[in-house]
Every structure is written in structure tokens, then in C-alpha cells.
Amino acid sequence: MNYPLHLAILVLLWGYIYTSWSLMGRLGMVSFGHGAFMGIGAYAVVMLWNHFGLSPWIGALVALAATAVVAVLIGYPCFRFRIVGHYFALVTLALSEVVRLLITALRDQTGGSLGATPKGALTEGTTVAIGAMQFESKLVWLGIVAAAWLAGLWVWRAVDRSMGRLALQAISEEEEAAASIGIHVTKAKLRITIVSALMTCVGGILYAQYQLYVNPDTVSGIAISLQMVFGVIAGGMFVMLGPTVGAAFTLLLAEGLRLAFGNRYPALDITIYGAMLVLFIIHMPNGILGAALERFRRRRERSLLKAAA
């Protein structure tokens, strides 16, 4: 029972994180820097707990504040100076590397590239330590990540229905033209960036507390940032459940191959995944769910036409 539950938790958690990323990605801001926000969330909470005994709930507030500051520090100049496209992707890539290297360099405090474990609060007999945000039962975690995931989808929909989304879509098509009809480009972009960054930070906190282990290479840096970008692309960047489908697809692909071949071919899943990504971007840029919905809609239109005729 534990294994499927673990998979469900991971799918929902990554689905949530990918959804957070896609808030920006679908509006033309392809960030390679979200590993930074996830890393800040994961490490701030664990470090404050380990070194100062600060409850992760309070640590989370500190992490969110730090994330907001970093998001503004990076976002504001980027948007103000019209750093877009490739340049935006590469500036944010530098950001996620800075966070990873900082965590590694502060090895006396963080444990460096060996990672760190939050001090255990679950003593013999207790299964729940609310103050320490540690729960033994996977069911509790399923509830928590499901709530986060639903909240993420709700934010996605709220953004989708807002005026801001229209403004950002206009910006992503033609920034100068959007500015000329009175859209405050910097403000519109900054707002969505902060929302996306804060949500990703929460994802990092949940990931750290669920796994009870953090490592600079798995919660920050270029690898994790790319994982987010491509998970979303695989699932579908422009539909609400696309990022979740991407998370489910990548996880089930990895687990399925592991079940089929054992650990004989350790990187087979990513090899296949990488090749599929290339094919996706060339042949179905809207991702799995996007392409499926498109086909479904076309079929329905055709049958409607037939019925009308």
C-alpha cells in the first residue's frame, strides 16, 4: 500500500510544482531558474529547524519572504530592461546555479553536496509532530500535497480568468505593442513571477519535509530547473492539467521501466524521455494533454458537422 501511495504523493507534489512553473512558462516567460526558489524553500526550512530549532511553519514564512525578495531582485531588472527569450532563460539559469553553489559552498552549515537531514521529531510511539511538520503516515502527506495541488490548480484558473493573463499574453506576443496600449509590462510580469516563485518555494518546503532529506543537486541548480521546464512541456504547457499529466508521465515512465528491467539500466528512462521530448517539441508542441484535447475537439467538431449535414 505504501508504494502506490508514495507514487501518488510524488505525482501530486511534482504536478503542483510544475503547475507553479507553468504560470510563467505559458505566458512566454521560460524560466530556467525555478530550482532556485525550490532550493531556497527546502533549505531555509531545514536549516532553520536544524540550527535554531525554528518550527518549519515559521521557517516557511522566512523562506517565502526570502523567495519573494529574490524573485523581485531578479525579476524587476529583467522585466525593466526587457530581458526576454533566450536571455531571460539564461539569466534565470545563472540564478539557479548561484543558489546551488551557495548551498554547496556553505558546507559547514548545509552539509554541502552530501545533503542534509532535518532533525527527527518523531520519537518512539508518536507518528505526528505537527510543530516539526513531520508525519509518519503517508496518508497525511497525501492529504497535504493534494491540498497544495488543488490550490495550485485554483491559482492557475484564477490567473487564467484574470485581466492580467490577457495583458501578459499580449506582452508575450509583442511587448512594445502591449506597452503602447497602456499595459504596465514590468508590473504585470513581476506579479505573476512572484506568485509562481512563492508557489515553487512551497513545493520545495513540502518536498524537503516529505523526503526528510535535502541535497543541493536535487532541489536546486540547472538539473532540477530543466526537469520542471521539460515536465511541463511533455504534459502540455497551455492546459490546466498539462503539468500534472507531465509529472505523472515522467514518474510512471521511470517507475514502469524500473519494474520491467530492475536496476539493470539505470538511466534508460531518461534516455527515452529525452528522445521523446525532442519528438514532442518537433511534432506536438502542445504536449500530451494538449494534443489529446486538440484531437478530441476536432473529432467532436467533425461529428457535429456531420450531424448538422
Partner: protein, 288 residues
């Protein structure tokens, strides 16, 4: 002040200079590709990884002479560059620019994982013990000196090729006006294919220099990739001279930062400098 000017700082500066030469060569191919085709190969460092494995296997496993193994590696990576362009980049040339960046990210995953499958995660090296050159109290590794020399020759060679040859002129012409040059009888697709192979060959040359100094393993691309991109962006993507200069700036930050603090701090400072520089000159330090 005198303390700052000690001999070890001088050594750090000179080593930074040598590292800058290496970086300059590594960023050359990527910059060329961007300047001509307007595409960023996110998987550029993974191509170098392939080249490093090629040298390793030919030299260590098949006992080829080192020079021949290196030449073959350059040829292999050039072929990879050509194939990458024909089968991955060409289909998305008309798509949104960001898709061209992303599609090579898929290749990055593929190459890295395929290398893990094929070669395992072990660190491998050529087992060469190159001597260190000692000047007074300072020491410089011969591998770095060789890399520096070859890098300068490579840069010079590329400039001569672009400026003195017929094909080179065509490449520069296409990069200046993609729409008009085909009307003058320059075949765009052919020039792109040649440029991609040339970019691949430069990645292969970079791989030969890297494998002299570093162990090869499937994730090595992740440790050099970001630096190479940032250097290109810092110099202005597509601006070959800018990238060349930026490589030395970047290497000094790493080397001197590493001298005063630990080596990671050198990287942290260099990356932070990069971000700040982007806000100061968004089109690159050396943009006109």
C-alpha cells in the same frame, strides 16, 4: 596593499588567464552557432562530453595514438553537430525561438542518460601525468598551458577561416542577412549545415583540451555547460570577440575569487557578477 600583491595572487591571476583561454575556446562554437543560425544549443556541453568519451575510448581502450584519437574525436563531434542540426534543429527552425532552445534541452537529457547507459557513471581519465611547469614559486599545469595555446590557435584559425575563405565569407554573409543572401546564390540550408559541423568540431576540440585536465563522466556537461552559456551571453550572444573577452573576465572572477575564498565562492561571485552585468548591459558587456 603589498599583501594583496603576493606571489600566490599572481599565480591565481595567471592561472585565471590560462583558464580564460580554455573557456574562450569552449564558448567559440556555441557563439558561432548562435551568430549564424540564431539557435542556442543547450546540449553543447554534452557534445563535448561525447568528444571526451571518444578520446578516452580510442586512446585507452583501443590504444590509438593520442593525436589520432583526438582528431577522430573532433570528427565525431563535428558529425554529431551536423546530425543535431539536420534532425533536431531544422524541423523547428520556423517555430518559436524558445522551442529551438528547448528542443536541444531534450537532446541534453538524451545524451547525458545515454552516456550513463553506455559508459556507466564512473569517472574516467586518460591516465596521463603531465608535468607541472614551475616558475619561481608558482606552478602551472602543462595541460592548462597546452589548452591555452591551442585555444588561442583555435580562435585565430576560426577568424582566418571566417575572414579569408569563400565559405567563411558566406557564413558571415548569412549571419548578417538571412533573407537576402539566398537571393545572392548562397544556399542557407547548406551554410547552416556547414556551420553546425564547424560548431561541433569546435566542441570536439574543446573536448580534447578538457579531457587532458578533467575526468570524464556523464554529468560533466552540467559543470561546464552553464559557464559556457553565461560567457556567450556576457559577451553578447553571437558576438565572437565579445565572447572571447568575456571568457577571460569570467575566468578571473573564478580564479581570484577562488584564491581569496574557496573555489565554489569563485563561481558564486562569477555567476552573481554575470547577473549584475546583464542588468547593466542587457545585450552583453561588449555590445556596441
Amino acid at each position: 596593499m603589498t599583501e594583496l600583491l603576493d606571489i600566490y595572487l599572481l599565480e591565481a591571476v595567471l592561472n585565471g588567464l590560462l583558464l580564460g583561454g580554455l573557456f574562450a575556446l569552449l564558448s567559440l562554437g556555441l557563439n558561432l552557432i548562435f551568430g549564424v543560425i540564431d539557435v542556442v544549443w543547450i546540449c553543447y556541453a554534452e557534445l563535448m562530453m561525447c568528444g571526451m568519451y571518444a578520446v578516452y575510448y580510442l586512446y585507452v581502450q583501443f590504444h590509438w595514438p593520442l593525436a589520432l584519437a583526438m582528431l577522430a574525436a573532433i570528427g565525431i563531434v563535428a558529425l554529431l553537430g551536423f546530425l543535431l542540426h539536420q534532425f533536431v534543429i531544422r524541423p523547428v527552425l520556423a517555430a518559436e525561438p524558445i522551442n529551438q532552445l528547448l528542443v536541444t534541452g531534450g537532446v541534453l537529457f538524451f545524451l547525458q542518460a545515454a552516456a550513463t547507459l553506455a559508459f556507466g557513471i564512473d569517472f574516467r581519465n586518460l591516465g596521463l601525468a603531465l608535468p607541472a611547469l614551475r616558475v619561481g614559486d608558482m606552478s602551472f599545469s602543462a595541460a592548462r598551458l597546452i589548452a591555452f595555446g591551442v585555444a588561442l590557435l583555435g580562435v585565430l584559425g576560426l577568424f582566418l577561416f571566417l575572414n579569408r575563405t569563400y565559405v567563411g565569407t558566406a557564413i558571415r554573409a548569412i549571419s548578417q542577412d538571412r533573407a537576402v543572401m539566398p537571393l545572392m546564390g548562397v544556399s542557407g540550408p547548406r551554410i547552416f549545415a556547414i556551420t553546425s559541423a564547424l560548431g561541433g568540431a569546435l566542441a570536439g576540440l574543446g573536448a580534447c583540451l578538457l579531457v587532458l585536465q578533467y575526468d570524464v563522466h556523464p554529468a560533466i556537461g552540467l559543470s561546464f555547460g552553464p559557464i559556457v552559456f553565461l560567457i556567450c551571453v556576457l559577451g553578447g550572444l553571437g558576438n565572437l570577440l565579445g565572447g572571447f573577452a568575456a571568457a577571460f573576465v569570467f575566468a578571473q572572477f573564478i580564479s581570484i575569487g577562488g584564491y581569496f575564498f574557496a573555489i565554489e565562492w569563485g563561481y558564486v561571485i562569477a555567476f552573481a557578477f554575470f547577473i549584475a552585468a546583464m542588468f547593466w548591459r542587457p545585450r552583453g558587456l561588449f555590445s556596441r
